[in-house]
Amino acid sequence: MVGKVALRALVSALLLACILLSLGTGRVWLDPAVLFGAIFEPKPSLPWLILSELRIPRTILGLLVGASLGLSGAVLQGLLRNPLAEPGLLGVSAGAALGAVIAIYFGLSATFALATPVLGIAGAMMAAALTLSIGRGGTLTMILAGAAVSGLMGAGLSLALNFAPNPSAAYEITIWLLGSLENRDWGQVLLVAPFILIGWLCLALTVRDIDALTLGEAQAESLGVNIARTRWLALAGTALAVGAATAVTGSVGFIGLIAPHLVRPFVGHQPSRVLLPSALFGAILLLFADVATRVIPTAGQEVRLGVLTSIVGAPFFFWLVLKLRRMSP
């Protein structure tokens, strides 16, 4: 295993690089000299405006969302002892998307700014509760329940599209669902940050429990773990963090699946050691993908964030399944 200090330095450097890339990439080149000058002589200037009002909020959201996805994926994988678990698999992401679409669709978000993240979280919690209650009795059942709940939420989304009041509304919903961080502002950051941070807290509180689950549920219980509480904390944390994140970005998938797998070769398989690195790597992956969407040359529209993560994530999922198939009898 790579030395701890070296690893931390590497991840920090990567994260910093991604943050700088995210701040620096865009349609408009920001002259570093002007920015530097603006620090000492704060006066309104175009580069500073673009940086402070557009790029910094976007970067912060990228960090929050990416870390939420990575952390939630690691916790769910630890809880279910299954390397294929992630919030998308358990229907939580689809539920969040449905909640957010309902908020936008029925005009709630126009009148009440908090509506979108709140309904996103509500949708995520509803989906999580459904998965949790139907999926009792083992990992396989829970994953199947998650698939069923995803299907249900997807049906809801299709219904919304079907009855869109006009073609442009349908188009907008579709595009929004593809996921994007573009043109997000400080208001949205401040809106979702509290929910995300509370979600992180819930997820972090499961760290001892999911470690003990390495021994299986019976032994973990005998070690004093309240498994029902752990399940509840993991799903509530996921619903809060991923729900709020989805409410502001649309559906961005696979990061929660990929991040833990990328860090395990370096930190080992013990669930508690995977949590923080997964969060950091999730942030790195998301920022990187977001920068890529700004940079990839396209004829018409820009590639959307969710599309990019799916295109890269799905083959990875395949690879993972094949690897697991080879390992197990």
Binding site: R27, L46, L49, I50, L54, P165, N166, N183, W186, T298
Partner: protein, 288 residues
């Protein structure tokens, strides 16, 4: 009868400057049951022909009618562009959009109704042509001329009132698509005496004109399309970015989108509104 048909066909050819649209059946001189499956031709139809001669218009037209000529579609049946409605309503002329389905054309042929595809207008010249085309098709060429004349009068008036220094605008509604050169919006902007910044984009197919580009381009005003479908949409969320809101405070001009997507004689009114709104802009450029 044959002469009338030839006349109509001839006018259609002359007006469109291209081979006549393929018609499956003979065009009647003064059709009595006209069905329109194209929202833009709905509106022209309602302006040119009395209600009794209309078989149906699309369900999308109502909102625009409420704005332009309230009550004009009272009692007019509504279609959803479905092919079965063609059989049901037995029209003797169908005004369709350029992407009508083959099924509809087949059924129309069976019913004996000629289908004419009406283009979308990208300029005032197009509006003149299309208005005259529809006027000829429905047998009301004089009324069509009257509408065109009214439009030309307004445009001439605007020409006389051209401002000294052209104002820079951009019709920036959804960030992904900005009407550039060759669109009706562009024509309207020019008629109003302004300069469309989007028309100057070096690469016409360049994707988004996002907030960053907007701030760099610094137009004197941005135009925001107002659909009369007052359902909320993300468009509101988009333009509400605090940066844009503060930078362009008092410099946002709304325009009715349907007058830009549908080329109508009333599109000149949009140019007039724009001209008047631009005159009220605060002095100087946008400041941070």
């Amino acid at each position: 009868m044959a002469m009338a048909v030839t006349l109509v066909a001839g006018v259609t050819v002359a007006a469109s400057g291209r081979p006549a649209q393929r018609v499956a059946a003979a065009l009647p001189a003064k059709p009595q049951r006209i069905m329109s499956t194209n929202m833009c031709s709905d509106l022209l139809l309602l302006m040119l022909v009395p209600k009794e001669r209309i078989a149906s218009v699309t369900y999308l037209a109502h909102d625009a009618v409420e704005v332009l000529m309230p009550g004009a579609d009272d009692g007019v049946p509504v279609n959803r562009g479905a092919a079965e409605e063609v059989v049901q309503q037995q029209p003797d002329l169908i005004l369709a959009s350029p992407w009508s389905t083959p099924v509809m054309r087949r059924l129309a042929a069976k019913v004996g109704a000629p289908v004419v595809e009406i283009d979308s207008a990208n300029s005032f010249a197009d509006i003149r042509r299309i208005t005259r085309q529809i006027g000829a098709l429905v047998g009301e060429p004089e009324r069509a001329e009257a509408l065109v004349a009214g439009m030309d009068r307004k445009l001439a008036q605007l020409e006389r009132q051209r401002p000294a220094r052209p104002i820079e605008v951009v019709a920036w509604s959804a960030g992904d698509f900005v009407p550039g050169a060759g669109t009706l919006t562009d024509d309207i902007i020019r008629a109003a005496g302004a300069v469309n910044l989007a028309a100057q984009l070096p690469d016409e197919s360049s994707s988004s004109f996002g907030i960053e580009e907007l701030l760099v381009a610094r137009p004197d005003s941005i135009m925001r399309g107002q659909t009369d479908y007052s359902e909320p949409s993300l468009q509101d969320a988009m333009s509400e970015h605090p940066v844009v809101r503060t930078a362009f405070k008092g410099r946002r001009i709304t325009y009715p989108v349907f007058l830009h997507t549908c080329g109508l004689p009333q599109s000149a009114d949009s140019a007039v509104q724009l001209h008047d709104a631009l005159a009220k802009l605060p002095e100087g450029g946008v400041a941070w």
